[in-house]
Every structure is written in C-alpha cells, then in structure tokens.
C-alpha cells in the first residue's frame, strides 16, 4: 500500500508512466473522435447546408442531416461506453497495482 506521504515517489515509476501514457493516448483519440465529427457537422450546416438537406434515397422524405444527427449522438455515446470498458478493465487494474505498491 502506498502511503499518502510517499505519493510523489510514484511519478516516475514505470507502472505509473504506463498508465498515464495509455490513458492519455486513448482519451485524446476519443476526444478527437467526438470533436472532429461534431465540428465537421457544424461547419457543414454553415457552409454546405444543401449537403445535409439531400434526401437519403430517392422518394424518401427524410434528409441526410437527421440520421447524421442521430449518428453523432448515438456514436459519441458509444465512445463513452468504449472508454468505460477499457477504464474498468485495463486502467483500473493498472491503478490497483500502483496503489498496492507494485510500481514496475
């Protein structure tokens, strides 16, 4: 068990650096995976409104913008699910090992 007063010794240990690097890489990709499609959507609404207003297939009343909006909401929610899955497994295991004092 790591004593709270010895907390700073963890910073440069291999186990902690592994946790930080893996989580950072994952979080950066998930954040970009949320923000890039979202701002592409916002810019499409501003600069290419006709693109969003095209019918999804001939004879349909539904236009592309609607399923895209649904996909953004459902898709980014799935990303939060992916995060949880990896955090509950891999990241929590790494953290538990660090807290228990296994710092290699």
């Amino acid at each position: 068990m790591v004593h709270p007063t010895a907390i700073h010794t963890i910073r440069t240990t291999p186990a902690f650096m592994r946790l930080v690097a893996r989580r950072r890489k994952f979080v950066v990709s998930l954040t970009l995976g949320t923000l890039l499609p979202y701002y592409a959507f916002v810019l499409a609404a501003g600069f290419a409104p006709r693109f969003l207003a095209q019918k999804i297939f001939a004879g349909s009343a539904i236009t592309l913008g609607w399923p895209l909006g649904v996909a953004l909401i459902v898709g980014t929610w799935i990303l939060t699910g992916l995060y949880i899955r990896r955090a509950n497994g891999e990241f929590d295991e790494l953290t538990a090992r660090i807290v228990a004092g296994d710092l290699q």
Partner: protein
C-alpha cells in the same frame, strides 16, 4: 425534535400558500395575456409530486447528519443513481419546450441545437469526471485551489460559481413563472414564490440527498412522459418516420426548406461561438460538476456520466421527434391557434408546441401530466443550483476562506441554512423584478461566464503544471469581464434590452472570444510569475497529478 418542528412549519407555510393561491388566481385572468384557465389535472399531479418530494426531504433530513452528508450525500450515491440525477439536472424545461418549438418553427435547426447541447457530455466523461471526483470533495473550488492560494483562488472560484448560479436561477425563475401561469393558470408571482419556497425546503432540510432524489424522480417522469408522447405521436403516423417527415414538409409553410439548416447558422461564426459556449460552458456549470462528488469513487463517476449521457441523448432524440410530429399534428389543428386559423399565432405563445401536441394526443390527462413534469423539472434544476450556491457560500467562503478550514460544524450548518434561504430569497426577488424583461441574454451570459471563468481555470488547474495563482486570478477576472462586457454589447442586451439600433459586438454568444481571452491571460499571468510561491505551486503539480490519475488520497464513501 427541533428539526422535525421546523420542517413541518415550512411545510405548513407552503400549503397555506398553495391554498390561498387558487383563490386569488381566478379573478385576475385579465391581468396577463397568456394566462390559461386553471388546469386542475396538472395541479393535482403536481401536488402529488410535491408531497412525494417533501416526504423524501423529510427522510433525507434524517440521513443528513454531518456537513459532508449535506454537501455530497456522504459520497453514498451509486453511479446509476447519479447518472439519472445528472440527466435530471440537464434535461431542463427549456430543452423540452424550447427545442420542440425550434423544430416546430425552424425545422432542422433544432437538431443542430440538440447535438450541440449533447456533445458536452462525452467530453465531460473523457476529460473531467474522474479527475474531478479524485481531486475535490465539495465544490469545484476545491480542485482549482488544490495547489494554488486557498484564499484568493477559492474566493475567485466561489464567485464564479455564484455568478453562474444566480444568472441561471433568475432565468429559471422567470421561465417558471411564465410557464406556470401558462400551464397551470396560476399567477406569475405565486409561481415564483412557490418555486423559491420549495427549493429552499429541499436544500435546507434535505441537502444533497433530497436534491438528488428530486432530480432522479423528475428524470424518470420526464423520460416516461417524453416516451409516452413519442409513442402516441408515432402511432398517429402508423410508426412511419418517412410518412411523418413527408406530412411535415406538406404542412409547414416553409415546405421542404425545413430540412435546411437555416437562420441559426446563417453566420457560421455565430454558430461556432454558440457551440463553444454550450460545449465548454457545460463543463463549467458548478451544479453539474458538484454531482461528481456524490459518488464513492472515480469508477462510479464514470459510470454516472455514461448513464447520464445515454439518457440525455435518448431524451434529445425524442425531443426532435416530438418537434417534427408537432409540425403536422399541431400545425393542422386550428384549435391551437388564436382565432382558430392554423399558421397564425399559437395559443399560449411560441413555447407551446409540445404541450399542444400532448393535448392533441392524450387529452387533458397527458397535457396535465406533461405540465406537472415541466414544473417538477424546474424544481429539480433550481434545487441543484441552490445546492451549488449554498456550498460556495458555506464551504468555500465561510469554512475555507473566512474560517481557514477550522469552522465549527454547527456554525457551518447554520451558515449553510442562511445561505440557502438567502439564495432562494434573492432568486424570488430577482425573478419577480425580471418578470417583464427579455431574459434571453441570461442564458447566453450563464454559459459564457461558465465557459470563460470556471472552465479555463478548472481545465488548466487539472492539466497544466505551469498554472500559478497569479495566472488563475488574472485569467479568471479577464474572462469574467470580457464575457459580461461582450454580452452587454451583443444584440441580446445592447439592442433588445437597451434599445440601441445596432449591436457593438455582433454575436449573442461571445464565449469563443471571452474564453480565448481567459486562456490567454491565465497563460501570460502564469509564465511571467517567477516568485517562490509560483515555484512551489508548480512543484506540487506532481502530487495532484498522481492523485487525479489514481485516486490515492481521495476520500471514499461514507457508509449509509
């Protein structure tokens, strides 16, 4: 025994007020333009909700022994419960009424808004939820002042939170007054006083436990009401979305143009600035962020965001569907228009499409239910806001800044009670003063201040080693001044409130500018800060970083 007595005194006062209210409400119908006939179904359902929540408040009071119980329910709320409560906090009456109304009038624009309100949640999950849980205990100021100056940075954050809370509260109060006179046929002032009294009772007696359960119940009711209405509406179209869309295009006076992103995004920069305010402002709302302290650990914090995000996304999707259904069902029915001609002025005003839809689909019963849900929604949101404001006063300003973490718990409890009553009082007074005002600017101001003061300092405190006290103070003040200043110069205030011909600043949401200013000044103030204190603050980043990552040293749950 005294708690029991005080609780019932408050309860009696409330019912005395409710009883007196109906007697006054009827004869003054001529006084307001939009007031509707007294809606007894809605009032009956709402009274059931109020009695249930007061029962919960009484039960919560018995669980609220320490100040920790009061502020964060002792960290004993489960991830799933907190997820529902977060959703209850975020699914506002404005979202239900405003978004459906936007689709009803402008079509596809409402979907762009819905997505923009939603996207903040995945980001909260990836960047904030776990760090906030690991680094703080009661307020977001705990996190900002973790390694910075307790006195000054905490004071700044407390005032940042209080500003956001007050602005948001006034907007909610004015909305509540208007909505309730619309839906229930009650007088504006009574509605505002009832809301103020109830929120003070929830928070003063039940603290975070009661607030949480009010939000959970409201979230369930809201999700149930929206689902029911969506199923009824879809049945009307034989469960064919294509049929619904085709009819909407046929009925709407804009025709196929309702599928085009229009007014809202006429200026892409304005849309971009709005989206920055919504996305990053949400990450700076104190009443949302403080909910992360109610769960036992980071694992529960992340689960709560996952649950909240799912429910909020589901709700927004339902809302867009309801808006499209309203175009057809309400748009064709002359009975919902003044003068009986479809396409004219909607009875009750522009926010009513979803309520008219409820009436058309399910008669007075469904209309009454949805009205009661809308009222319950306002109560849940204002209770959360009051809780956040109270913690900023009694925990941040009193216990930590004035008493320097040596406050006597009894006195602190008394301060918290006075604070919640004072906040409720201020909200009622301002709500009544702002009755006739155009309050659209309050919402943009709330999100802009949250995105320009709370968010930058919080984000940099968590992620940037170089942040120092001087940088945080400089950036926070710059963000506050520029957000408020630019909103005053924007069309919403300069033109619509102050009556000038043209705005000095062209965008209603200045967040993209004021947030950049805040980040810039925080950076300048920090990198030029070479004192011994700054060096110490940077040196302490590693400890904070480790705790944020692993939760070592973070407090756990109290056993309930």
């Amino acid at each position: 025994m005294t708690r029991f007595a005080r609780f019932f005194a408050a309860l009696l006062a409330l019912f005395a007020l409710c009883g007196g209210r109906t007697a006054f409400a009827m004869p003054e119908a001529a006084g307001s333009v939009h007031r509707q006939p007294l809606n007894t179904t809605a009032i009956a359902m709402f009274v059931v909700f109020v009695i249930a929540t007061l029962g919960i408040t009484y039960w919560s009071a018995s669980k609220t022994r320490t100040m920790k119980d009061f502020y964060n329910a002792g960290g004993g709320i489960s991830g799933f419960q907190n997820g529902l409560a977060l959703a209850g906090d975020y699914m506002s009456a404005a979202a239900l009424l405003g978004l459906t109304s936007m689709i009803f009038f402008n079509g596809y624009d409402g979907m762009i808004y819905a997505v923009s309100f939603f996207v903040a949640w995945p980001l909260l999950m990836f960047l904030f939820a776990e760090r906030i849980r690991n680094l703080g205990q009661v307020t977001i100021a705990d996190i900002a002042s973790y390694r910075l100056d307790q006195q000054r940075v905490r004071t700044l954050m407390a005032f940042g939170s209080l500003t956001v809370v007050c602005l948001y509260l006034v907007a909610q109060m004015v909305g509540a007054g208007q909505l309730i006179q619309l839906l229930f046929g009650l007088r504006y002032e009574y509605a505002v006083v009832v809301v103020g009294l109830l929120m003070a009772v929830y928070v003063t007696f039940g603290g975070m436990v009661a607030t949480t359960w009010v939000q959970i119940i409201k979230a369930v009711l809201m999700l149930f009401g929206a689902t029911l209405l969506a199923v009824l509406a879809l049945r009307h179209f034989g469960f064919s979305l294509n049929d619904m869309f085709a009819q909407a295009i046929a009925v709407h006076h804009s025709g196929a143009a309702i599928m085009l992103p229009s007014k809202l995004v006429a200026d892409p920069f304005a849309m971009l600035s709005l989206s920055v305010a919504l996305v990053f402002g949400t990450s700076g709302l104190p009443h949302i962020l403080m909910r992360f302290f109610t769960v036992p650990d980071a694992k529960a914090a992340r689960k709560s965001v996952f649950v909240a995000t799912g429910f909020i996304g589901y709700f927004f999707l339902l809302v867009t569907l309801l808006g499209m259904a309203a175009i057809v069902i309400v748009g064709r029915d002359g009975g919902f228009y003044e003068g009986g001609v479809p396409g004219g002025k909607l009875i009750g005003g522009g926010n009513m499409p979803v309520m008219h839809l409820a009436k058309a689909m399910g008669g007075d019963l469904v209309l009454g239910f949805l009205s009661a849900v809308a009222f319950a929604t306002i109560l849940a949101v204002v209770a959360g806001l009051t809780m956040a404001g109270t913690s900023a006063i009694s925990h941040d300003l009193y216990a930590m800044v004035i008493r320097k973490n040596r406050a006597d718990p009894k006195t602190e409890k008394r301060v918290s009670r006075i604070a919640s009553l004072a906040i409720a009082g201020v909200a009622v007074v301002l709500g009544i003063l702002f009755k006739e005002q155009n309050i659209a600017f309050l919402v943009s101001l709330t999100y802009s201040v949250a995105a320009s003061v709370n968010f930058p300092i919080l984000a940099l405190a968590i992620y940037w080693k170089g942040l120092t006290t001087r940088g945080a103070l400089l950036g926070g003040v710059a963000g506050l001044v520029s957000a408020v200043g630019l909103v005053v110069l924007s069309p919403a205030v300069w033109v619509k409130v102050l009556g000038h011909a043209t705005p000095i600043f062209p965008y209603d949401y200045p967040a993209i500018v004021s947030m950049s200013i805040a980040f810039f000044f925080t950076w300048v103030g920090s990198v030029t800060d070479q004192g011994a204190r700054a060096a110490r603050e940077r040196a302490q980043f590693d400890d904070q970083f480790i705790r944020g990552q692993t939760g070592i040293g973070a407090s756990g749950a109290a056993s309930h």
